[in-house]
Amino acid sequence: MLTLRTFGQFITDTLGIMTKGSRLYYAWIGFLLLLIGMGAIAYVGQLNHGLLVTNMRDQVSWGFYIGNFTFLVGVAAAAIMLVIPAYIYDWEPIKEITILGEMLAISALVMCLGFVMVDIGRPDRFWHIMPLVGRLNWPQSMLAWDVIVLNLYLLLNWFVVTYLLFCAYTERHYVKKLVLPLVLLSIPMAVSIHTVTAYLYNGLAARPFWNSAILAPRFLASAFCSGPAILLILLQVLRKTTKLSIKDEAIFKIAELMAYTMGFNLFLTAAEAFKELYSGTEHMVYFQYLLFGLKGHNTLVPYAWASIIFGFVAFILFLVPRTRTNWVTLNIGCVLIYASVYIEKGMGLIIPGLTPDALGEIFVYTPSFTEITVAAGIFAIGFLVFTLMLKAAVPMMLGEFTLSKGRKAASEPEAGPIKA
């Protein structure tokens, strides 16, 4: 009973911190709300007119939405990977990062589910896909698997984050016996969400570009580059703007790990490209479309090469200790990796998978204005979720905001630790 009441207080206090902040904080929230509003208007238009307002058609039946979905599943999976060194090797400097990783995963998953929701033609029938109420074609359909694992993963991360913060709030030590197995469970879960998402494409014999055995390993390798890239930038921002202390050492260590995964990712991409281009079967056309263009259609070509070059440059930057420990080159590397994987696992995966289509037609797809606006709205929702969680979590993690100190701290105007 008592815990229930404190939990209620925890919720109200959390909401309290979320709504109070500096002017910059309000401006940021306002900006996100604006984007969300614009996305919502575009989405209502899409609901009224149907997916006709997107540029997807029968030939290219998935596009920007599903591309973003795929990329974000990778982010959600990779955010947790930092948990491995923290918990297995009990490596202190990285430990506080894991809770951030989990919050990042939650935000990424919210965006994933958003992208799926806006992509389906009949969102009013969403209940058909819910287990028990609807009719889930499980275990046959990989999409059914994906729905299950993504939601479980979301639930798991949400529970761990809430529990850890609640413990910090009530100034109790968390029960290690409860948290550790859950955190350890989240590691194979992270691998599984991305594997299942890869299998979603992988299992389609109709699409040779996806029907490759190393698709899932490629997914994992690229995700373990892009997820940490986001986190590295975030850690630096948090260090500057809050009292959270994150050691240089932790950041450099993550960067080193990223160099290896990026190297592996490039290797796998090369292996795939070699197999397709050297053997030169009829399946080569998809890679040709991506890398060189086909029959004069080369919309994807500059992006594909940018992705490869960015990935390679970032790999070098992270491999060489001098550039890895230099803040400027480190951050350039992060941005490059992010861009590289965003292209590779987004449009660079979906579009050549579907072009040329099953009957050999080349339909050139670029996202429509509606698609871009809706996508921006969903990204804004993700950022909003993340910002709000961070706003409440940081003071709690620092022990500044607890059951005994909380009320007082919240009533002071400059209590919001995020100043920038």
Binding site: V44, Q46, L47, N48, H49, G50, L51, L52, V53, T54, M56, R57, D58, Q59, S61, W62, V116, D119, I120, G121, R122, P123, D124, R125, F126, H128, I129, G134, R135, L136, N137, Q140, S141, M142, L143, A144, V147, L200, Y201, G203, L204, A205, A206, R207, E282, V285, G353, L354, P356, D357, A358, L359, G360, E361
Partner: protein, 310 residues
């Protein structure tokens, strides 16, 4: 594709109130209201929203669903549209054979199909795609042209290959559907429950023959164009946001008629029949002609065959 975007007309927006007696009433209007918001304009009755997968409906429920659909079509097109639920005929598995040596690519089948099956005219949905191929290249889809001029056929050095749903024995589209909205019936026809499909388009990615088509916008069909003789899984007018495909004219073939494309073909390239009937023409072709299946290596095992008659 079209510049006429379907808009939310005042009639379209008012929700038809449900006519009581629904056994899932307890789920309440609240849920339906959320769903209505999700369709953009509240063109959704509570019964429609709560309708379950067709395979799980009792006889009574099927009857009420059909009555509701017929009422809706009557209101929409001002004429009686009959929605049949004719089950598969016992001892029948349909097979199709197409004679590549005869087909001239005139595309009459394409248009007969659109007329018979109540496809949206704007944007126009076509279930049959006719490919113009190079004789020198053979069946190489990377050299296929769909947008040739039908006035000029047959063109020198080319042959024509119509492709539609191959009614696979191992249909990947069925395997991938997350909600079981599409399945293979006993007579070999893969059908879609248009009232259960969520429009995720996973089946379109899975189909190796480009046979599945999506209603990107509100399907437009005038009252004159409506073929009132329909089947629940076949040519009944479809809603927006769902997938559709060739059903071998289920509304005709289950009554013993030929598909519309078979009837219209001026060259007699299209052959249709019961694979289980040893005396059928289709069996004769399979046993005596040079037959192949499209993308055989994928092991989808089509019941649609291509052959060279002469």
């Amino acid at each position: 594709m079209t510049d006429r975007k379907p808009t939310c007309s005042p009639e379209g927006c008012d929700s038809r109130s449900g006519s009581g007696g629904n056994r899932r009433e307890f789920l309440g209007t609240a849920v339906a209201a959320v769903a209505m918001a999700l369709t953009g304009c509240g063109k959704l009755s509570k019964e429609e929203f709560l309708q379950h997968n067709f395979q799980e409906l009792s006889k009574d429920e099927v009857r009420s669903v059909i009555a509701r659909l017929e009422k809706e079509y009557k209101a929409k097109y001002g004429k009686d549209v009959k929605v049949a639920t004719t089950p598969p005929l016992p001892g029948v598995i349909f097979g199709y054979a197409l004679d590549l040596s005869r087909c001239i690519g005139c595309r009459r089948c394409v248009h007969a199909c659109v007329k018979e099956n109540n496809q949206s005219r704007d944007p126009e949905v076509q279930w049959i795609r006719v490919l113009e191929l190079d004789k020198e290249e053979g069946v190489n889809l990377q050299h296929a042209e769909q947008y040739y001029n039908p006035e000029e056929v047959p063109r020198e050095g080319h042959f024509y290959m119509p492709v539609q749903c191959q009614q696979c024995k191992k249909p990947p589209c069925v395997k991938v559907c997350p909600v079981g909205a599409t399945w293979r019936e006993k007579d070999g026809i893969t059908v879609v429950d248009y009232n259960w499909c969520i429009g995720c388009r996973y089946c379109m990615a899975a189909c190796p023959y480009g046979a599945r088509h999506f209603n990107w916008g509100e399907p437009h069909l005038t009252a004159d164009e409506v073929n009132p003789d329909t089947h629940y899984f076949g040519n009944r007018p479809r809603p927006k946001g769902v997938v559709e495909k060739c059903t071998f004219c289920i509304q005709r073939t289950r009554k013993g008629l030929y598909p519309a494309c078979v009837e219209i073909c001026p060259t007699g390239s299209r052959k249709f029949g019961n694979l289980l009937d040893k005396t059928s023409e289709i069996r004769y072709i399979l046993e005596n002609k040079r037959v192949f299946k499209l993308k055989e290596e994928l092991n989808t095992q089509p019941n649609f065959f291509y052959f060279y008659g002469v």
